[in-house]
């Protein structure tokens, strides 16, 4: 095109070599950009799932919210399938920086979902087990139970331990938010469960300490703050709850909760 016409020696071997480099660099860069965009989509949809999941603190039908979030996360997994497609035959780490934010956010969302449902920490293995995709069928919903048909090639995506750790570190922030909302909404169990769970994660991170990558150490401070907020919330619940017998509390909150349900029903 135009640019090439401007150079002095059109046929020099140097220029020829650089034309090859140009192609190679552009190809790589385009792939990188596509991955960045996919990662951004994964981030946004994961964040939306988290937003959605936070509704569990204020509605009566938790299962409904969980199901809705699961559908949303299924969509996210489809997008991760597109990332896996882009990475087919590539060195995963070459483009890691392009998609790591999205993957971390997905880990955060899926582990949040898992915690609400099972009150445990999802394992890295479980996360990766859900990231199996059928070749040429990535545009369809990849339901988990489905058997891989022999004609389809299976494509996998492996979340790295570091991305898993960073996602879990961010999860603690969401747990803190959920805990504080729960206090407001009179849920007497969630805060204590969250605080025990968060302490375990906190102890886990202090066990790893600074042996992990720098980004992990950087998140420790925020994690500690989240823990402290959750512990304070439990403390407040305990101290305020101490003034009245437990069975009365239940009364108080059931009436509050139904009031809230009415409000939410309209929304």
């Amino acid at each position: 095109n135009q640019k090439v016409n401007l150079t002095v020696n059109l046929s020099s071997p140097v220029i020829d070599a650089f034309k090859v480099f140009q192609l190679e660099l552009d190809t790589k860069h385009d792939k990188y950009e596509r991955l960045v965009k996919l990662s951004r989509d994964v981030t946004i949809d994961s964040k939306r799932s988290i937003f959605l999941l936070h509704r569990v603190t204020s509605v009566s039908d938790v299962e409904e919210v969980l199901a809705e979030a699961d559908v949303k996360l299924g969509g996210v997994r489809q997008k991760i399938g597109l990332i896996a497609e882009e990475l087919r035959g590539e060195d995963l780490y070459q483009f890691h920086r392009a998609f790591t934010p999205g993957i971390q956010e997905y880990v955060e969302a899926v582990s949040f979902h898992h915690f609400i449902k099972h009150r445990t920490l999802i394992s890295l293995e479980d996360i990766n087990a859900k990231l199996l995709f059928m070749k040429d069928s990535y545009s369809k919903e990849s339901t988990e139970g489905q058997q891989p048909v022999a004609a389809h090639q299976v494509l996998t995506f492996q979340v790295t331990p570091t991305d898993y750790l960073l996602g879990v570190a961010d999860l603690t922030g969401e747990l803190m938010r959920m805990c504080i909302s729960s206090v407001g909404n009179g849920d007497m169990d969630t805060p204590f469960q969250v605080s025990m769970f968060l302490r375990q994660i906190h102890d886990g991170f202090s066990y790893i300490g600074n042996t992990g990558p720098y980004e992990v150490s950087k998140k420790l401070h925020t994690l500690r703050q989240s823990l402290s907020k959750v512990e304070d919330a439990c403390y407040t619940l305990k101290v305020r709850g101490s003034e009245i017998p437990k069975h009365m509390l239940a009364d108080v909150f059931s009436s509050r909760a139904s009031m809230i349900d009415q409000d939410e029903g309209v929304a």
Binding site: R177, I180, S181, G184, G186, R240, D263
Partner: protein, 227 residues
Amino acid sequence: MSVTEMFSYIQGFLSADQEIREDIRKVVQVLEQTAREILTLLQSVHQPSGFKEIPSKCTKARELFCTVRTHLGELKTKFSVEQYYRFHEHWRFVLQRLAFLAAFLVYLETESLVTREEVVQILGIEVVRENGFHLDVEDYLAGVLIMANELSRLAVNSVTAGDYSRPLRISNFINELDSGFRLLNLKNDPLRKRYDGLKYDVKKIEEVVYDLSIRGLTKEQDTRGEM
């Protein structure tokens, strides 16, 4: 010489710009002074005696907003309208404070959320950018969030003043506000940070409601229906 003339002409431009900024700064200072006066006035509702005088204080505050309108009117004359964003940083802070004060005033008067249209009317400016000096939606929202913090304080002090129903109404109001904000897709910007503080206001108010509930002090007001 032509180049010299041209540069002299350009120097004129540069000087004019500096003068505009100086002028804007002066008006903004006066605005900040008036905003502080309105704040002092409205904050006196936190005093036990203040609760009965809310209507009279709101009236006085409305008067002070006349002054604000005058100053904002003057501010508009300092630069041409399409340069709003060129100088935005100069008045952004005070405009958010004024939006907060308008929101607080309207809440005290009607216990409802001020709309952007109302704020704009109280301040004598525009909603739509095309029509002139306007209120950015981010600045409106910042003002609303400052008010939420003020309301958590009001909930505490209304109990001290013996008004046990107000905290419940504040609680419903603030919950509604929180649901509203959850609809927004906020970036990691100053607004997001401010919004993160809202959760603590919600929690504080809920604790007040809780304290009242376990003592049976909320019963009498339960008939207020869907509000």
